[in-house]
């Protein structure tokens, strides 16, 4: 039993080091992916600010539940935690895209309640600084003339959100042969931009936050941002709309909660989220991470999500991602 007592000692020592914490968390935020991605960031940042500004009395525990592109967490919430009022789950445009494309094994958006979004990452089309393409139309014209001359790199698989943005833009420009467009899905936006700067692919489709550092270093040129107006702080980047390509597409960062919780609890969470949106900490975090303000909380947001899902569903059917 010598070994055992030593293990016990070790545990004691470790516990001593960590005495300040304990598993006494009450509320939980599920990030439906491994640590390091956007959903993980949403949970950690919002959870941290909720505690810092005092709307949550205890730190919010973040659980990573990767699986099925968020589908595992979604089914976990629907099937096992439907009445858990102490649970929030990170979501983004990718969640809506997958729900619209029926990628969550038959589960639908009305099986949870969307709580709100408090920031958005504007969609962008980026080329390397030494690229011959100077404007969005240069690039789209090149694809129209010879689809094999341009390969797009993006952080999502074919048919995913990043890919759809390219197809939508091309569709607005009058090019509808979606299968001819060359697209490779790599492991995240950072990878996509590295491949583009390296000249392996000609353009990158992704989110503003993924390119901020490279833009400041002069390695890339942003051909267009998919917002209604130019993004504050990036005033020299033209929108797609002003170049005649009518497309608005942002990757919002938000949360959903289980469907079965009471209206009181729903309001408690939406008030907390609204408080985060209004806080200085969040403003600071948005600037540091290239997010644009985008606050829609409560029923207003639920309507917005329903609209987005309908739109993506229509588009996906149009281009054949779903039947």
């Amino acid at each position: 039993m010598k070994f055992y007592s030593r293990k016990g000692l070790m545990a004691g020592a470790v516990a001593g080091v960590l005495a300040v914490t304990g598993p006494a968390f009450s509320a939980e935020c599920i990030a439906p992916a491994n640590p390091g991605g956007g959903w993980d960031f949403t949970c950690r940042m919002i959870g941290k600010i909720m505690y810092d500004i005092g709307v949550a009395d205890k730190p919010i525990q973040v659980t990573n539940m990767a699986g099925g592109g968020g589908g595992l967490a979604f089914s976990h919430v629907v099937n096992e935690r439907n009445e858990d009022a102490e649970l929030i789950v990170a979501a983004s445009s990718a969640t809506a895209t997958r729900l619209a494309q029926n990628a969550y094994a038959g589960m639908t958006a009305d099986q949870v309640r969307f709580l709100g979004a408090i920031g958005a990452d504007p969609g962008v089309i980026v080329v390397a600084a030494d690229s011959p393409y100077q404007s969005l139309n240069d690039l789209l014209d090149a694809v129209k003339a010879d689809p094999t001359s341009v390969t797009f790199a993006g952080g999502s698989a074919a048919g995913g959100f990043d890919h759809l943005k390219v197809l939508m833009a091309l569709g607005r420009a009058g090019f509808n042969d979606v299968t001819a467009v060359k697209y490779i899905g790599v492991d995240g936006g950072g990878d996509a931009i590295t491949q583009t700067i390296g000249g392996h692919t000609q353009a990158m489709t992704g989110d503003m936050s993924e390119v901020v550092g490279f833009l400041a270093a002069g390695e890339v040129r942003v051909l267009a941002v998919f917002t209604e107006d130019r993004v504050p702080g990036f005033d020299d980047i033209p929108t797609a709309t002003e170049q005649g390509i009518d497309i608005v597409s942002v990757n919002w960062r938000g949360l959903y909660v289980p469907l079965g919780i009471s209206d009181t609890d729903y309001r408690k969470w939406s008030d907390a989220l609204a408080a985060v949106a209004a806080s200085d900490e969040w403003a600071e975090a948005m600037v540091a991470n290239g997010l644009a303000p985008f606050t829609r909380v409560g029923d207003d947001f639920q309507d917005y999500v329903n609209g987005v899902i309908l739109e993506i569903e229509e588009l996906s059917r149009e281009i054949g991602v779903i039947q």
């Binding site: 039993m1 293990k7 070790m10 470790v14 516990a15 960590l18 598993p23 525990q61 048919g159 991602v321």
Partner: protein, 146 residues
Amino acid sequence: MTSDRLLGLGTITIALAYIAGATQIQIGFLSDPVGSRTFPYIVGGVAAICGAYIAFRPDQDPSWPNSRTFLRIGLALIVMYVFTQTLKPFGFLIPAAIASAALSYLISPRPMMAIAAGIGLSLGLFAIFNFGLGLSLSPFGRYFSG
């Protein structure tokens, strides 16, 4: 000889089943030149060739244990499986104590020591996981905590 022939035949069977499974992979509307099925086909093919090679050029048989030992390995498997199935409803502490004790008994058949090891390991590891590393294991599960 026999073992490797069985291994070879088993491999071929599974490889063919794998290839058959791969033919069922959906091809999306946007297919790349290589496609979703090519790699699974290649992998299945390589495995089948290896299987055939092993079946035709078998190594010497390893020394397999006697049936009593197989029985004990089988029991260990069952203990582990039961543990995985009871972990969620009953929490960590009790299933872990029982499973460790059973496994300990299979390794060294002394009941009192086995029980002591089971209880000690269950409590000690629970403490390390929960308080030391901050991993959240449920101690008793849903049947006890209500």
